[in-house]
Symmetry: C2
Subunit: 248 residues, 2 copies
Protein backbone atom coordinates (compact mmCIF):
# COMPACT_ATOMS: atom_id res chain seq x y z
CA UNK A 1 0.00 0.00 0.00
CA UNK A 2 2.62 2.45 0.99
CA UNK A 3 5.98 1.05 -0.06
CA UNK A 4 7.88 4.14 1.13
CA UNK A 5 7.09 3.35 4.78
CA UNK A 6 8.19 -0.24 4.38
CA UNK A 7 11.40 0.96 2.75
CA UNK A 8 12.11 3.34 5.61
CA UNK A 9 11.60 0.55 8.10
CA UNK A 10 14.00 -1.69 6.19
CA UNK A 11 16.58 1.05 6.00
CA UNK A 12 16.29 1.79 9.68
CA UNK A 13 16.58 -1.89 10.57
CA UNK A 14 19.72 -2.16 8.51
CA UNK A 15 21.18 0.93 10.07
CA UNK A 16 20.57 -0.60 13.46
CA UNK A 17 22.21 -3.83 12.31
CA UNK A 18 25.29 -1.96 11.13
CA UNK A 19 25.57 -0.05 14.37
CA UNK A 20 25.20 -3.18 16.49
CA UNK A 21 27.93 -4.91 14.53
CA UNK A 22 30.22 -1.91 14.91
CA UNK A 23 29.53 -1.81 18.63
CA UNK A 24 30.30 -5.50 18.98
CA UNK A 25 33.67 -5.02 17.30
CA UNK A 26 34.47 -1.98 19.40
CA UNK A 27 33.64 -3.74 22.67
CA UNK A 28 36.08 -6.50 21.74
CA UNK A 29 38.85 -4.55 20.04
CA UNK A 30 38.49 -1.00 21.27
CA UNK A 31 37.56 2.14 19.37
CA UNK A 32 40.84 2.00 17.44
CA UNK A 33 40.07 -1.58 16.39
CA UNK A 34 36.96 -0.53 14.51
CA UNK A 35 37.33 -0.92 10.78
CA UNK A 36 34.76 -0.65 8.05
CA UNK A 37 36.19 -3.84 6.56
CA UNK A 38 35.54 -5.70 9.79
CA UNK A 39 32.02 -4.34 10.00
CA UNK A 40 31.29 -5.44 6.44
CA UNK A 41 32.82 -8.88 7.06
CA UNK A 42 30.24 -9.45 9.81
CA UNK A 43 27.35 -8.28 7.68
CA UNK A 44 25.52 -9.70 4.67
CA UNK A 45 25.99 -6.41 2.77
CA UNK A 46 28.84 -4.85 0.91
CA UNK A 47 30.97 -1.84 1.68
CA UNK A 48 29.03 0.32 -0.73
CA UNK A 49 25.81 -0.35 1.13
CA UNK A 50 27.32 0.64 4.45
CA UNK A 51 28.46 3.86 2.81
CA UNK A 52 24.90 4.45 1.66
CA UNK A 53 23.87 4.66 5.30
CA UNK A 54 26.88 6.44 6.79
CA UNK A 55 28.90 8.88 4.71
CA UNK A 56 32.12 8.06 6.56
CA UNK A 57 33.51 6.32 9.61
CA UNK A 58 33.01 9.39 11.77
CA UNK A 59 29.39 9.58 10.72
CA UNK A 60 28.96 6.02 11.97
CA UNK A 61 30.56 6.97 15.28
CA UNK A 62 28.20 9.91 15.70
CA UNK A 63 25.31 7.61 14.84
CA UNK A 64 26.39 5.24 17.61
CA UNK A 65 26.76 8.16 19.96
CA UNK A 66 23.22 9.32 19.25
CA UNK A 67 21.91 5.82 19.72
CA UNK A 68 23.42 5.80 23.18
CA UNK A 69 22.17 9.26 24.12
CA UNK A 70 18.72 8.21 22.97
CA UNK A 71 18.73 5.39 25.51
CA UNK A 72 19.96 7.78 28.20
CA UNK A 73 17.13 10.19 27.41
CA UNK A 74 14.67 7.44 28.22
CA UNK A 75 16.32 6.79 31.56
CA UNK A 76 16.26 10.51 32.42
CA UNK A 77 12.58 10.72 31.60
CA UNK A 78 11.99 7.83 33.93
CA UNK A 79 13.99 9.58 36.66
CA UNK A 80 11.68 12.60 36.39
CA UNK A 81 8.76 10.35 37.33
CA UNK A 82 10.47 9.04 40.48
CA UNK A 83 8.16 9.42 43.45
CA UNK A 84 9.84 11.51 46.06
CA UNK A 85 10.92 15.09 46.72
CA UNK A 86 12.63 17.20 44.07
CA UNK A 87 16.13 16.55 45.34
CA UNK A 88 15.48 12.82 45.20
CA UNK A 89 14.40 13.16 41.59
CA UNK A 90 17.56 15.12 40.81
CA UNK A 91 19.56 12.41 42.49
CA UNK A 92 17.72 9.83 40.40
CA UNK A 93 18.99 11.54 37.25
CA UNK A 94 22.56 11.18 38.45
CA UNK A 95 21.88 7.56 39.33
CA UNK A 96 20.49 6.95 35.86
CA UNK A 97 23.60 8.47 34.31
CA UNK A 98 25.79 6.20 36.42
CA UNK A 99 23.81 3.10 35.52
CA UNK A 100 23.93 3.94 31.84
CA UNK A 101 27.66 4.58 31.83
CA UNK A 102 28.33 1.32 33.64
CA UNK A 103 26.05 -0.76 31.48
CA UNK A 104 27.39 0.72 28.25
CA UNK A 105 31.03 1.65 28.86
CA UNK A 106 31.94 1.54 25.17
CA UNK A 107 29.11 3.86 24.23
CA UNK A 108 29.91 6.22 27.06
CA UNK A 109 33.47 6.65 25.84
CA UNK A 110 32.05 7.21 22.37
CA UNK A 111 30.09 10.22 23.55
CA UNK A 112 33.39 11.77 24.59
CA UNK A 113 35.17 11.04 21.35
CA UNK A 114 32.17 12.08 19.26
CA UNK A 115 32.46 15.55 20.78
CA UNK A 116 36.02 15.75 19.51
CA UNK A 117 36.35 18.28 16.68
CA UNK A 118 37.96 15.76 14.35
CA UNK A 119 34.91 13.51 14.59
CA UNK A 120 32.32 16.24 14.58
CA UNK A 121 33.75 18.05 11.58
CA UNK A 122 33.35 14.97 9.40
CA UNK A 123 29.88 13.87 10.50
CA UNK A 124 26.73 14.65 8.56
CA UNK A 125 24.89 17.83 9.37
CA UNK A 126 21.79 15.74 9.91
CA UNK A 127 23.33 13.55 12.57
CA UNK A 128 24.90 16.52 14.32
CA UNK A 129 21.55 18.22 14.57
CA UNK A 130 20.05 15.02 15.93
CA UNK A 131 22.76 15.06 18.56
CA UNK A 132 22.09 18.59 19.77
CA UNK A 133 18.36 17.87 19.81
CA UNK A 134 18.95 14.84 22.00
CA UNK A 135 21.13 16.81 24.35
CA UNK A 136 18.52 19.49 24.84
CA UNK A 137 16.07 16.73 25.68
CA UNK A 138 18.45 15.56 28.39
CA UNK A 139 18.82 19.10 29.64
CA UNK A 140 15.04 19.46 29.52
CA UNK A 141 14.56 16.69 32.06
CA UNK A 142 17.04 18.32 34.40
CA UNK A 143 15.45 21.75 34.02
CA UNK A 144 12.06 20.24 34.73
CA UNK A 145 13.25 18.95 38.09
CA UNK A 146 14.97 22.23 38.91
CA UNK A 147 11.80 24.17 38.30
CA UNK A 148 9.79 21.75 40.41
CA UNK A 149 12.36 22.23 43.18
CA UNK A 150 11.97 25.97 42.88
CA UNK A 151 8.18 25.88 43.07
CA UNK A 152 8.15 23.45 45.99
CA UNK A 153 10.63 25.65 47.83
CA UNK A 154 13.19 22.85 48.24
CA UNK A 155 15.63 24.83 46.13
CA UNK A 156 16.42 28.48 46.63
CA UNK A 157 18.54 29.78 43.82
CA UNK A 158 21.27 32.19 44.71
CA UNK A 159 20.74 35.39 42.74
CA UNK A 160 23.77 34.93 40.52
CA UNK A 161 22.72 31.46 39.33
CA UNK A 162 20.22 30.73 36.60
CA UNK A 163 18.44 27.35 36.28
CA UNK A 164 20.46 26.67 33.14
CA UNK A 165 23.70 27.25 35.02
CA UNK A 166 22.60 24.88 37.77
CA UNK A 167 21.71 22.25 35.20
CA UNK A 168 25.10 22.71 33.62
CA UNK A 169 26.86 22.37 36.99
CA UNK A 170 25.09 19.14 37.76
CA UNK A 171 25.85 17.75 34.35
CA UNK A 172 29.51 18.74 34.48
CA UNK A 173 29.87 17.20 37.91
CA UNK A 174 28.36 13.90 36.84
CA UNK A 175 30.24 13.81 33.59
CA UNK A 176 33.58 14.58 35.23
CA UNK A 177 33.08 12.00 37.94
CA UNK A 178 32.08 9.27 35.56
CA UNK A 179 34.76 10.03 32.99
CA UNK A 180 37.62 10.15 35.49
CA UNK A 181 36.37 7.17 37.46
CA UNK A 182 35.95 5.09 34.33
CA UNK A 183 39.55 5.73 33.56
CA UNK A 184 40.69 4.96 37.12
CA UNK A 185 38.61 1.78 37.28
CA UNK A 186 40.06 0.70 33.96
CA UNK A 187 43.59 1.15 35.20
CA UNK A 188 43.18 -0.45 38.61
CA UNK A 189 41.22 -3.33 37.10
CA UNK A 190 39.40 -3.35 40.41
CA UNK A 191 35.86 -2.90 39.29
CA UNK A 192 34.38 -3.04 42.74
CA UNK A 193 30.68 -3.11 42.41
CA UNK A 194 29.86 0.04 44.25
CA UNK A 195 32.81 2.36 43.85
CA UNK A 196 31.27 4.50 41.17
CA UNK A 197 27.94 4.50 42.99
CA UNK A 198 29.55 5.73 46.21
CA UNK A 199 31.64 8.43 44.57
CA UNK A 200 28.80 9.71 42.46
CA UNK A 201 26.59 9.87 45.56
CA UNK A 202 29.28 11.82 47.39
CA UNK A 203 29.73 14.35 44.60
CA UNK A 204 26.05 14.69 43.98
CA UNK A 205 25.53 15.37 47.68
CA UNK A 206 28.30 17.96 47.72
CA UNK A 207 26.89 19.89 44.81
CA UNK A 208 23.27 19.67 45.91
CA UNK A 209 24.19 20.77 49.45
CA UNK A 210 26.25 23.57 47.92
CA UNK A 211 23.21 24.62 45.91
CA UNK A 212 21.22 24.69 49.14
CA UNK A 213 18.78 22.11 47.81
CA UNK A 214 16.79 20.51 50.61
CA UNK A 215 16.66 18.06 52.29
CA UNK A 216 20.38 18.26 53.09
CA UNK A 217 22.54 15.17 53.04
CA UNK A 218 22.76 15.05 56.82
CA UNK A 219 18.99 15.44 57.31
CA UNK A 220 17.82 12.56 55.16
CA UNK A 221 18.15 8.83 54.70
CA UNK A 222 19.69 8.75 51.23
CA UNK A 223 20.63 5.08 51.47
CA UNK A 224 16.93 4.38 51.56
CA UNK A 225 16.42 6.44 48.41
CA UNK A 226 19.09 4.40 46.66
CA UNK A 227 17.33 1.20 47.68
CA UNK A 228 14.07 2.55 46.38
CA UNK A 229 15.65 3.37 43.02
CA UNK A 230 17.23 -0.06 42.77
CA UNK A 231 14.00 -1.84 43.57
CA UNK A 232 11.77 0.58 41.67
CA UNK A 233 12.16 2.50 38.44
CA UNK A 234 15.69 1.23 37.72
CA UNK A 235 15.16 -2.38 38.84
CA UNK A 236 15.87 -3.88 35.43
CA UNK A 237 18.99 -1.82 34.85
CA UNK A 238 20.35 -2.49 38.30
CA UNK A 239 19.90 -6.22 37.93
CA UNK A 240 21.63 -6.10 34.56
CA UNK A 241 24.54 -4.31 36.17
CA UNK A 242 24.83 -6.85 38.97
CA UNK A 243 24.74 -9.69 36.50
CA UNK A 244 27.41 -8.02 34.38
CA UNK A 245 29.67 -7.49 37.39
CA UNK A 246 29.26 -11.02 38.67
CA UNK A 247 30.39 -12.38 35.33
CA UNK A 248 33.76 -10.63 35.39
Amino acid sequence: MCPKIVDDAVIEAREEEIMQTALQIMSEQGVAGLTIDKVVANLPYSKGTVYNHFTCKEDLLTGLCNRSVKALTELFKRAVTFEGNSRERMFAVGFAYMLHSQLNPTEFMLVISAKTPSVREKSTEKRQEEHTALESELLGSILQIISSGLSSGDLNLQPHLSPAQVAFSLWAMSFGTIALLHETLDRCSVRTEMMLERELTNHSNLVLDGLDWKPYTKDYDWAETVERLKAGIFKTEFEQLQEQLSLT
Copy 2:
Protein backbone atom coordinates in the same frame (compact mmCIF):
# COMPACT_ATOMS: atom_id res chain seq x y z
CA MET B 1 84.36 14.95 29.09
CA CYS B 2 81.19 13.01 29.50
CA PRO B 3 79.70 12.42 26.04
CA LYS B 4 76.75 10.45 27.45
CA ILE B 5 75.31 13.59 29.06
CA VAL B 6 75.67 15.56 25.86
CA ASP B 7 74.00 12.77 23.94
CA ASP B 8 71.09 12.70 26.34
CA ALA B 9 70.69 16.44 25.98
CA VAL B 10 70.69 16.16 22.20
CA ILE B 11 68.15 13.36 22.30
CA GLU B 12 65.90 15.30 24.63
CA ALA B 13 66.14 18.42 22.50
CA ARG B 14 65.15 16.44 19.44
CA GLU B 15 62.26 14.85 21.25
CA GLU B 16 61.06 18.31 22.17
CA GLU B 17 61.45 19.42 18.56
CA ILE B 18 59.36 16.49 17.32
CA MET B 19 56.64 17.17 19.86
CA GLN B 20 56.49 20.86 19.03
CA THR B 21 56.14 20.08 15.34
CA ALA B 22 53.37 17.58 16.04
CA LEU B 23 51.58 20.10 18.22
CA GLN B 24 51.82 22.74 15.53
CA ILE B 25 50.23 20.40 12.99
CA MET B 26 47.50 19.39 15.41
CA SER B 27 46.61 22.97 16.28
CA GLU B 28 46.14 23.69 12.56
CA GLN B 29 44.58 20.46 11.34
CA GLY B 30 43.13 18.81 14.43
CA VAL B 31 44.08 15.58 16.16
CA ALA B 32 42.89 13.56 13.18
CA GLY B 33 45.09 15.64 10.89
CA LEU B 34 48.25 14.53 12.61
CA THR B 35 50.36 12.28 10.44
CA ILE B 36 53.87 11.00 10.95
CA ASP B 37 54.60 11.93 7.35
CA LYS B 38 53.61 15.52 8.00
CA VAL B 39 55.72 15.64 11.13
CA VAL B 40 58.74 14.33 9.25
CA ALA B 41 58.18 16.75 6.39
CA ASN B 42 58.57 19.65 8.85
CA LEU B 43 61.67 18.22 10.42
CA PRO B 44 65.28 17.76 9.26
CA TYR B 45 65.19 14.08 10.23
CA SER B 46 63.78 10.97 8.63
CA LYS B 47 60.89 8.76 9.62
CA GLY B 48 63.21 6.17 11.11
CA THR B 49 64.66 8.72 13.50
CA VAL B 50 61.23 9.77 14.72
CA TYR B 51 60.48 6.09 15.35
CA ASN B 52 63.67 5.89 17.39
CA HIS B 53 62.15 8.38 19.81
CA PHE B 54 58.53 7.27 19.81
CA THR B 55 57.62 3.65 19.19
CA CYS B 56 54.33 4.54 17.54
CA LYS B 57 51.94 7.38 16.93
CA GLU B 58 50.12 6.73 20.20
CA ASP B 59 53.39 6.91 22.09
CA LEU B 60 53.93 10.35 20.61
CA LEU B 61 50.45 11.39 21.72
CA THR B 62 51.13 10.21 25.26
CA GLY B 63 54.43 12.08 25.17
CA LEU B 64 52.59 15.27 24.22
CA CYS B 65 50.05 14.63 26.94
CA ASN B 66 52.79 14.30 29.56
CA ARG B 67 54.45 17.46 28.32
CA SER B 68 51.20 19.29 28.92
CA VAL B 69 50.61 17.78 32.36
CA LYS B 70 54.16 18.73 33.31
CA ALA B 71 53.36 22.38 32.60
CA LEU B 72 50.13 22.08 34.59
CA THR B 73 52.05 20.63 37.53
CA GLU B 74 54.14 23.78 37.66
CA LEU B 75 51.04 25.95 37.72
CA PHE B 76 49.54 23.87 40.54
CA LYS B 77 52.70 24.20 42.59
CA ARG B 78 52.52 27.91 42.14
CA ALA B 79 48.87 27.89 43.26
CA VAL B 80 49.92 26.19 46.51
CA THR B 81 52.12 29.21 47.29
CA PHE B 82 49.29 31.70 46.81
CA GLU B 83 49.07 33.98 49.82
CA GLY B 84 45.66 33.72 51.35
CA ASN B 85 43.49 31.30 53.27
CA SER B 86 43.25 27.62 52.38
CA ARG B 87 40.06 27.98 50.40
CA GLU B 88 41.65 30.71 48.32
CA ARG B 89 44.56 28.42 47.55
CA MET B 90 42.17 25.68 46.54
CA PHE B 91 40.39 28.14 44.31
CA ALA B 92 43.75 29.13 42.82
CA VAL B 93 44.27 25.54 41.73
CA GLY B 94 40.99 25.59 39.83
CA PHE B 95 41.94 28.92 38.33
CA ALA B 96 45.28 27.48 37.20
CA TYR B 97 43.50 24.57 35.57
CA MET B 98 41.21 26.93 33.72
CA LEU B 99 44.08 29.12 32.52
CA HIS B 100 46.03 26.11 31.33
CA SER B 101 43.09 24.62 29.44
CA GLN B 102 42.39 27.96 27.75
CA LEU B 103 45.97 28.65 26.82
CA ASN B 104 46.56 25.14 25.49
CA PRO B 105 43.24 23.88 24.12
CA THR B 106 44.86 21.31 21.84
CA GLU B 107 46.89 19.81 24.65
CA PHE B 108 43.91 19.76 26.96
CA MET B 109 41.89 17.71 24.47
CA LEU B 110 44.91 15.44 24.15
CA VAL B 111 44.80 14.60 27.82
CA ILE B 112 41.30 13.27 27.28
CA SER B 113 42.15 11.20 24.24
CA ALA B 114 45.38 9.92 25.81
CA LYS B 115 43.29 8.36 28.57
CA THR B 116 41.39 6.42 25.95
CA PRO B 117 42.16 2.69 26.12
CA SER B 118 43.10 2.54 22.43
CA VAL B 119 45.83 5.12 22.96
CA ARG B 120 47.00 3.88 26.34
CA GLU B 121 47.28 0.27 25.25
CA LYS B 122 49.76 1.14 22.52
CA SER B 123 51.97 3.57 24.44
CA THR B 124 55.27 2.62 26.00
CA GLU B 125 55.25 1.35 29.57
CA LYS B 126 57.80 4.05 30.38
CA ARG B 127 55.64 6.90 29.18
CA GLN B 128 52.59 5.50 30.93
CA GLU B 129 54.45 5.37 34.22
CA GLU B 130 55.59 8.93 33.69
CA HIS B 131 51.97 9.89 33.23
CA THR B 132 50.74 8.34 36.47
CA ALA B 133 53.70 9.88 38.31
CA LEU B 134 52.74 13.32 36.99
CA GLU B 135 49.14 12.83 37.97
CA SER B 136 50.04 11.96 41.53
CA GLU B 137 52.11 15.13 41.64
CA LEU B 138 49.01 17.07 40.64
CA LEU B 139 46.98 15.26 43.25
CA GLY B 140 49.76 15.95 45.76
CA SER B 141 49.32 19.71 45.42
CA ILE B 142 45.60 19.38 46.01
CA LEU B 143 46.07 17.11 49.03
CA GLN B 144 48.56 19.57 50.45
CA ILE B 145 45.98 22.34 50.42
CA ILE B 146 43.31 20.06 51.84
CA SER B 147 45.50 19.14 54.78
CA SER B 148 46.36 22.79 55.41
CA GLY B 149 42.63 23.53 55.39
CA LEU B 150 42.07 20.77 57.91
CA SER B 151 44.78 21.99 60.26
CA SER B 152 43.70 25.63 60.05
CA GLY B 153 40.13 24.59 60.78
CA ASP B 154 38.75 26.15 57.57
CA LEU B 155 37.70 22.72 56.38
CA ASN B 156 35.80 20.21 58.49
CA LEU B 157 35.57 16.89 56.74
CA GLN B 158 32.36 15.02 57.01
CA PRO B 159 33.07 11.60 58.54
CA HIS B 160 32.33 9.66 55.35
CA LEU B 161 34.79 11.65 53.22
CA SER B 162 38.53 11.10 53.05
CA PRO B 163 40.97 13.78 51.81
CA ALA B 164 41.57 11.69 48.70
CA GLN B 165 37.86 11.61 47.95
CA VAL B 166 37.64 15.37 48.35
CA ALA B 167 40.59 15.84 46.03
CA PHE B 168 38.95 13.57 43.52
CA SER B 169 35.65 15.49 43.76
CA LEU B 170 37.36 18.77 43.10
CA TRP B 171 39.28 17.37 40.18
CA ALA B 172 36.22 15.75 38.64
CA MET B 173 34.27 18.96 38.98
CA SER B 174 36.94 21.04 37.29
CA PHE B 175 37.57 18.50 34.60
CA GLY B 176 33.87 18.08 33.80
CA THR B 177 33.29 21.82 33.66
CA ILE B 178 36.24 22.50 31.43
CA ALA B 179 35.62 19.55 29.11
CA LEU B 180 31.95 20.31 28.58
CA LEU B 181 32.48 24.03 28.29
CA HIS B 182 35.28 23.63 25.80
CA GLU B 183 32.91 21.69 23.67
CA THR B 184 30.10 24.21 24.07
CA LEU B 185 32.40 27.14 23.35
CA ASP B 186 33.67 25.35 20.28
CA ARG B 187 30.18 24.86 18.96
CA CYS B 188 28.80 28.30 19.70
CA SER B 189 31.98 29.90 18.41
CA VAL B 190 31.26 32.55 21.01
CA ARG B 191 34.46 32.49 22.97
CA THR B 192 33.49 35.24 25.33
CA GLU B 193 36.47 36.08 27.39
CA MET B 194 35.10 35.29 30.78
CA MET B 195 32.52 32.57 30.29
CA LEU B 196 34.72 29.73 31.41
CA GLU B 197 36.06 31.82 34.27
CA ARG B 198 32.56 32.57 35.54
CA GLU B 199 31.27 29.02 35.24
CA LEU B 200 34.31 27.52 36.88
CA THR B 201 34.00 30.00 39.75
CA ASN B 202 30.35 29.07 40.18
CA HIS B 203 31.03 25.36 40.25
CA SER B 204 34.04 25.70 42.47
CA ASN B 205 31.99 27.75 44.91
CA LEU B 206 29.19 25.18 44.89
CA VAL B 207 31.50 22.30 45.69
CA LEU B 208 33.57 24.16 48.27
CA ASP B 209 30.42 25.40 50.01
CA GLY B 210 29.08 21.87 49.88
CA LEU B 211 32.25 20.65 51.51
CA ASP B 212 31.73 23.21 54.25
CA TRP B 213 35.06 24.86 53.46
CA LYS B 214 35.24 28.37 54.91
CA PRO B 215 34.99 31.22 54.19
CA TYR B 216 31.69 30.59 52.40
CA THR B 217 30.96 32.17 49.05
CA LYS B 218 28.52 34.64 50.56
CA ASP B 219 30.90 35.71 53.35
CA TYR B 220 33.88 36.70 51.23
CA ASP B 221 34.94 38.97 48.43
CA TRP B 222 35.92 36.38 45.85
CA ALA B 223 36.09 38.85 43.03
CA GLU B 224 38.98 40.45 44.88
CA THR B 225 40.72 37.07 45.10
CA VAL B 226 40.38 36.67 41.34
CA GLU B 227 41.93 40.08 40.83
CA ARG B 228 44.80 39.17 43.11
CA LEU B 229 45.44 35.98 41.12
CA LYS B 230 45.36 37.85 37.84
CA ALA B 231 47.76 40.51 39.04
CA GLY B 232 49.93 38.16 41.10
CA ILE B 233 51.08 34.58 40.63
CA PHE B 234 49.24 34.09 37.32
CA LYS B 235 49.93 37.50 35.82
CA THR B 236 51.92 36.19 32.85
CA GLU B 237 49.39 33.49 32.01
CA PHE B 238 46.46 35.84 32.33
CA GLU B 239 48.04 38.38 30.01
CA GLN B 240 48.78 35.65 27.49
CA LEU B 241 45.16 34.63 27.60
CA GLN B 242 43.91 38.16 27.06
CA GLU B 243 46.27 38.62 24.15
CA GLN B 244 45.13 35.35 22.64
CA LEU B 245 41.48 36.27 22.96
CA SER B 246 41.95 39.73 21.52
CA LEU B 247 43.55 38.24 18.42
CA THR B 248 40.54 36.10 17.52
